[in-house]
């Protein structure tokens, strides 16, 4: 058993970390978020140059065939550096496209993405977070060889800058049934697609998307009703791992920043880190981070070995969300008034953690499912 990153992975982490340190300090990030919803083409292109987009794709799809461990390795660094570029939001769309039966259009979109082109947005969430892909409700009907999509998706991150959307929909069965879900590739500017875009609390751009009789040619159906649910799971499993890695990276940064602040900030003539109430709180933050990180690392190793069940992923996702909120709340509290402002990175890490807890199934759902059945 080896639960460390390989030398190659360590190198990739280092070079990404160094790149972000040089080119993506907090002020730069703030400017990118304010100007363009967290996406700067130059930074995006640099990430592609480092191979981070290709890393997500299998070799037969023009990718580098990165493993989940690779994804986790880089995502943790992205979280630690508060990267707002939509690498993570683009991940499930790219994976679905790579593993589904994409036609020519899909192959071209994927190739473009791998080289630093537009992200592929993942239009899957519908309401208050789908913990379970089988709960997809948006309808699709078959007409001739085509698929007609009607309904709405919510919280689709990076949809505005994407050329393509990967959309989940249901041709048969009721929400909850695994069968009957299809996955389709849709051009973002296809007739009948309307975006209602907004800023998100964590500095990205999201959109609620309406589909009004959107026609999808057979070639752009990535998975039909027998395979849709599996394809979604195949796209989501590595995504959830990467998302948890990002969150763990953010937590680690918060522990460090907060501990530093407690050592530097003085009140009553002494560092606030000398007050036991804060010492214990910071110790709890450090434990929460370690607990989350160990859960991440072992679950990732299990996934790499093909031994990670959906239940294991749920547990990780829920636990990381819970620990993340705890760490974020404590970081703000230890900082006092200045922790309540948008001027420090602290609040931005905190909001990133909150957003990650809410997407792909809130903790409450996963804990409930775990508690309900062994």
């Amino acid at each position: 058993m080896d639960l460390t990153f390989t030398d190659e992975q360590v190198m990739l982490r280092d070079s990404l970390g160094k790149y972000l340190e040089r080119n993506y300090d907090f002020e730069t990030r703030r400017a990118v978020v304010a100007a363009s919803g967290g996406h700067d083409p130059k930074i995006w292109a640099d990430l592609a140059e480092m191979g981070l987009m290709a890393l997500t794709l299998p070799e037969d799809r023009g990718g580098l065939g990165g493993s989940v461990v690779d994804l986790v390795a880089v995502a943790e660094v992205m979280g630690a550096k508060l990267l707002a570029e939509p690498w993570l939001p683009a991940l499930p769309g790219a994976l679905a496209l790579a593993h589904g039966g994409a036609g020519e259009g899909g192959a071209a979109a994927l190739a473009a993405f791998a080289e630093g082109g537009a992200p592929i947005a993942f239009a899957h969430e519908e309401g208050r977070a789908l913990a379970e892909p089988a709960r997809v409700a948006m309808t699709a009907t078959r007409k001739g060889g085509e698929l007609i999509l009607s309904g709405a998706k919510r919280y689709v991150v990076a949809a505005e800058i994407a050329t393509h959307l990967v959309v989940s929909a249901r041709v048969s069965g009721a929400p909850g049934a695994r069968a009957g879900i299809v996955v389709a590739l849709v051009a973002r500017d296809a007739p009948g697609v309307t975006l209602d875009a907004y800023d998100t609390v964590d500095g990205r751009r999201g959109a609620n998307i309406r589909f009004e009789a959107v026609r999808v040619p057979a070639a752009d159906v990535l998975a039909d009703e027998d395979a849709g649910c599996d394809l979604l799971n195949a796209a989501l499993a590595p995504t959830v791992l990467a998302l948890c890695a990002d969150a763990v990276g953010a937590m680690g940064a918060l522990v460090k920043i907060t501990a530093r602040y407690a050592a530097d900030r003085k009140q009553f003539g002494v560092p606030i880190g000398s007050f036991q109430a804060l010492r214990h709180r910071i110790a709890d933050m450090a434990m929460a981070h370690q607990k989350a990180r160990s859960t991440l690392i072992v679950t990732t190793a299990m996934a790499e070995a093909g031994a990670c069940a959906p239940r294991d992923l749920r547990l990780l996702k829920a636990q990381v969300g819970r620990m993340g909120r705890e760490v974020g709340e404590s970081a703000v509290q230890v900082h006092g008034g200045v922790g309540m402002t948008d001027e420090l990175s602290v609040g931005h890490y905190f909001k990133r953690l909150l957003a990650m807890d809410a997407i792909y199934g809130a903790g409450r759902l996963h804990f409930r499912a775990i508690g309900a059945a062994a």
Binding site: G127, A129, D202, G337, A358, G361, F367, R368
Partner: protein, 401 residues
């Protein structure tokens, strides 16, 4: 023990209802619905204060000769209940629970005559200039200097976290007039007649929720007459301590928390739980909601117990307990709010949150308010004496020396 109920109280309720029917306008209700902080939207909160002041109800707890309403505790409860039922915004505490009562107790006759009418009517708004960048919990270490210059002081230094300074036209503040002796000595309490004085600059700070609520205030030889001093020179610390009694005592958080609790319950009954049902039907959620409600009720009753002359009224730890319990209960409530809002809490809807906005919420009002309220409510355990400081005070009282 005795709770006043019955006909007289119901007659009073009818009077309140008739008054609210005649005076509540949609913008006030909208401001109440879009209140994501302990501090309601400024314009509507002050307009509402003006309406209440005209009826003599803006500061019911003040002595009657200064404009108080002379209500019984039960009447005050009825009034609060009826206001919450309509979702009205809370009044801002600065005038009515801080500087007003302080001047009634410690102001000179001239100060009372000059300031109290504007404080009560809401024509003036007073901000509180205590905290400084290096003096937060350790407030007594403050360094904003006031030097004597004939009949005036010249103030130089900085304040921070001054809530609504960008809306205020007046300020009460603590300054250092002496660096000798203990740090608590050498502090003086002053009143500023204007926020447009030469040498004074206000800079807004953007909060986690994306809104400006606190400010930095910079002083460069700002001239203030000595007549604007409350208490003696170098005795400002005891003036400030006197004020604390009002600041921490405050009103009951009960009615506002109950309203948010009811909104949470309704939202949970609508919210898809991601498993084919609604969140309100999840037994685990129900249990937590039940505990939350019990906490809301206990905090409210703790307040009532004290107000009714019971044991907490004589407990020196009561103000700290009340502050800690109520802040943590509202934080727990806010956490359940974002849980129910889920993904729908993630869009940043600053425009739609403004009173009078042209755009509506992306999903519904509950979802729109949940995240900013949650984020803003993190401050409740930081301001007015952090909860760490409060727990220390409580422990000091509870643990024998």
């Amino acid at each position: 023990m005795n709770l006043e109920m019955g006909e007289a109280l119901e007659a009073f309720r009818a009077e309140v209802i008739a008054f609210l029917d005649a005076n509540v306008t949609p913008d006030l209700v909208e401001a109440g619905a879009k209140t994501t902080s302990v501090f309601a939207p400024f314009e509507q909160a002050m307009r509402w204060q003006g309406i209440l002041a005209a009826r003599g109800w803006a500061a019911p707890n003040w002595p009657v000769e200064h404009g108080g309403a002379g209500w019984s505790a039960e009447q005050a409860d009825v009034f609060a209940q009826e206001c919450e039922r309509r979702g009205l915004p809370p009044l801002l505490p600065h005038n009515l629970k801080m500087i007003g009562p302080l001047l009634i107790d410690l102001g000179t006759p001239e100060q009372k005559a000059k300031y109290l009418p504007g404080i009560l009517s809401g024509e003036d708004f007073w901000c509180q200039g205590y905290s400084e960048p290096n003096s937060g919990s350790d407030l007594a270490s403050l360094r904003c200097m006031a030097v004597s210059d004939g009949d005036d002081y010249l103030i130089t230094g900085q304040k921070i976290w001054t809530t609504y300074a960008h809306h205020a036209n007046r300020m009460f503040l603590l300054v250092r007039t002496s660096t000798e002796g203990k740090k608590q000595q050498g502090i003086t309490f002053l009143l500023l007649d204007s926020m447009d004085l030469p040498g004074l600059t206000v800079k807004k700070t953007i909060g986690l929720d994306g809104f400006p609520e606190q400010c930095e205030v910079f002083f460069d030889a700002v001239r203030v007459p000595k007549a604007n001093r409350v208490g003696a020179e170098n005795d400002g610390w005891s003036v400030a301590k006197h004020l604390l009694k009002y600041e921490r005592g405050g009103g009951s958080p009960g009615p506002a928390l109950r309203r948010r609790l009811a909104a949470l319950r309704e939202a949970a009954a609508r919210a898809d739980d991601g498993m084919g049902g609604v969140i309100a039907d999840d037994p685990a959620f129900q249990e937590r909601l039940g505990m939350l409600e019990a906490d809301v009720i206990s905090v409210d009753y703790h307040f009532r117990h004290a107000r009714g002359g019971g044991e907490p009224a004589h407990d020196p730890a009561y103000p700290s307990m009340m502050k800690t319990l109520s802040s943590e209960t509202s934080q727990a409530l806010s956490a359940m709010m974002i849980e129910v809002a889920g993904l729908e809490g993630l869009p940043r809807q600053l425009d739609a949150l403004a009173v009078g906005a042209n755009s509506g919420p992306l999903s519904d009002g509950f979802d729109m308010v949940a995240m900013p309220y949650y984020l803003n409510t993190r401050a409740a355990s930081i301001y007015a004496g952090s909860n760490e400081i409060q727990r220390d005070l409580i422990a000091r009282i509870v643990i024998p020396a």
